[in-house]
Symmetry: C2
């Protein structure tokens, strides 16, 4: 990753004590970078915590400071939008382990050197622990709601299970209560691609910056990270969506070249996605966050029972899955719904039809907008 | 790949003229390594051509000369087995582009240096053209049948479409008439992993052998090839099969280690599969064969119509798909069946239930055995 020099558009919170972790270790120092939209009311009860996905960040509804692109949920968050910032105070914090301002492997440890692989392995619950520290610092005792898609949904579930009085409404989109063998397999593939890249250097690549063709600085296992991103990207799309978007169409040519250039549009697209990702993400962060996701098993954390995880929850829940999502298919949301039913929690559960696969939660699915708006009333 | 010094258990045919290719180029010199089982009868009409898959080889029912493992279809081919070698003369040739004796990028070009990336890009039809040359050399005018799973099924389809009088029965298992965008995407991911490995050296890695820990020679982009194999391997298994086989079980430990070792059995399994593959396969062959598969579109070759491809075929067909195969799902076999119906060809089409995903065609599925045995009568 080319180092992001500052996160001028984010606010930061530096914790005044170490953050305890599920591993038994602690994280120190701890910085949490966050972004907010709307105004916290006097009662401090109109806050909605948005939790971001694996490669997401706190820039939900404002331009990404590095790419200049609109926020990743710009269509969902804003005045009059489904998550209405004229009513709600919307908060999103970069997860620990990431690389957009919150403490991660690229940041400096106490000895003034980057953590690199000395950064402790974290879990989804550890990420949530950091979010709770932020809420405490902001004086938000109870969220109106917590919402997230994919890994964001895991955090929402973890918050609901482990901090039962901190959220009134829990909205989980395209997510799961545990990572399956296939989910783990795809992540392991990505990690092996990164760690096989000689540029990885056992994670100690931060000081070996080189100047790239376009004058920017490149460092580390960019090639491996690009391959990891390509693999993940395939899992985010549906077979149907790929066929509709690309089919077997050729890229800027009339006939196959009988070579190894990107003849097909889908090849060209994937190569671009892989390369673009290396400009905005740190490879070690990718290792740590995928590990946290693989470790996620909410039932296991609660005596092997998802019902135990939600016992006596005072929150109401909404679960949304997408019919073309093969990464976290509807059956995973159904499992969560059954556990919530078993403890008598109010739960809405709907499978939406959308052609975009797992990525549907980020894209133009009007039925999702209606679900979110309605549930947060 | 550690070079395989000889293929003592295979016979070889050296063509006496160049092989014309779909690209307009020719392959020269051309060696075809093949294996046979059973006896060709006097009428030369009891031959069954078995076509192997991407990383398969001619050692169908006899031990692999390098790994010592039983032939890849040992359970299917032999005396009294579904493909009964007491009745049939069973023939399997290593595809051109591969690395088990037939001409491929690791072999020497006319100038005495390995072809490497000077090897011409080939197609499935080119592979079949080589098989036909072998049949001609053996005096086999008409096969009793041609059979193959996965890429082997593509060859069987291509042979049926392009050499209409050469096979009486065509058996296609877990295959497709064209590579989808998602299929291409996974292959491109594997190719990028190989080509991103500095050991690839633009394909010219054959002379840079190094001695590995275990005393064997290793060369080339082993790390990239292992990642490519891991990616492919995930696509060969079903989500259900992975869950049944591994679930979230830990590997030789009681608790998560909060590190990046292979905590989960599925991680350990994938790493092993990736590494083991590099001992028996050449990375450049992987590039060329995946490219051939991506280029495969039988309809496109025949005026954009699958019906045209099979027009006036005298053969009878059998198509088998597996309900858990998400690489080449049943809908792909159905498309072929519809085209065969449209031209009035005799066709049996069945979707079998098996938990193993795409790999079902190689594994213990008794219903498949019965289908194969019955169809070849």
């Amino acid at each position: 990753m080319a180092r992001v020099p500052q996160h001028s558009s984010s606010e930061v919170l530096d914790l005044d004590q170490p953050l305890p972790l599920d591993s038994g270790r602690v994280l120190w120092p701890v910085r949490i970078a966050y972004q907010s939209y709307g105004t916290l009311n006097a009662a401090r009860n109109n806050a909605i915590l948005v939790c971001h996905a694996l490669t997401g960040d706190q820039h939900v509804a404002s331009p990404h400071p590095r790419t200049g692109k609109p926020g990743w949920w710009d269509r969902m968050v804003g005045p009059g939008k489904p998550i209405d910032t004229s009513r709600f105070f919307v908060l999103c914090a970069n997860v620990i382990g990431s690389c957009m301002g919150s403490s991660g492997p690229a940041d400096l440890a106490e000895d003034g050197q980057p953590f690199a692989m000395r950064f402790p392995v974290i879990t989804i619950r550890d990420m949530v622990r950091a979010q709770i520290a932020l809420l405490d610092a902001l004086g938000i005792e109870r969220l109106h709601g917590v919402i997230g898609g994919s890994m964001g949904g895991m955090q929402a579930l973890s918050l609901a299970a482990n901090y039962k009085n901190r959220a009134g409404a829990v909205l989980v989109i395209a997510s799961t209560s545990r990572h399956s063998a296939q989910n783990i397999a795809f992540h392991e593939l990505g990690r092996q691609a990164i760690m096989a890249d000689p540029g990885w250097q056992a994670g100690d690549y931060y000081s070996s910056a080189v100047t790239s063709e376009n004058g920017g600085t490149r460092k580390g296992p960019d090639a491996g990270l690009a391959v990891a991103r390509m693999a993940a990207h395939i899992t985010y799309l549906s077979e149907q969506g790929l066929t509709e978007k690309f089919g077997r169409r050729l890229q800027d040519r009339d006939a196959k070249t009988f070579g190894f250039d990107a003849d097909f549009q889908v090849e060209s697209y994937l190569r671009y996605q892989g390369l673009a990702f290396t400009d905005r993400f740190d490879a070690n962060s990718y290792l740590y966050i995928t590990r946290a996701m693989d470790y996620f098993d909410l039932a296991e954390e609660h005596g092997g029972s998802l019902t135990h995880a939600f016992a006596s929850t005072p929150a109401r829940f909404c679960l949304v899955s997408f019919d073309t999502d093969w990464l976290y298919p509807t059956s995973e949301s159904r499992r969560i719904a059954h556990a919530l039913n078993a403890v008598g929690a109010p739960v809405s559960f709907v499978e939406l039809s959308a052609p975009f696969g797992h990525d549907s939660f980020l894209l133009d699915v009007p039925a999702l907008d209606r679900m979110v708006r309605g549930f947060l009333q």
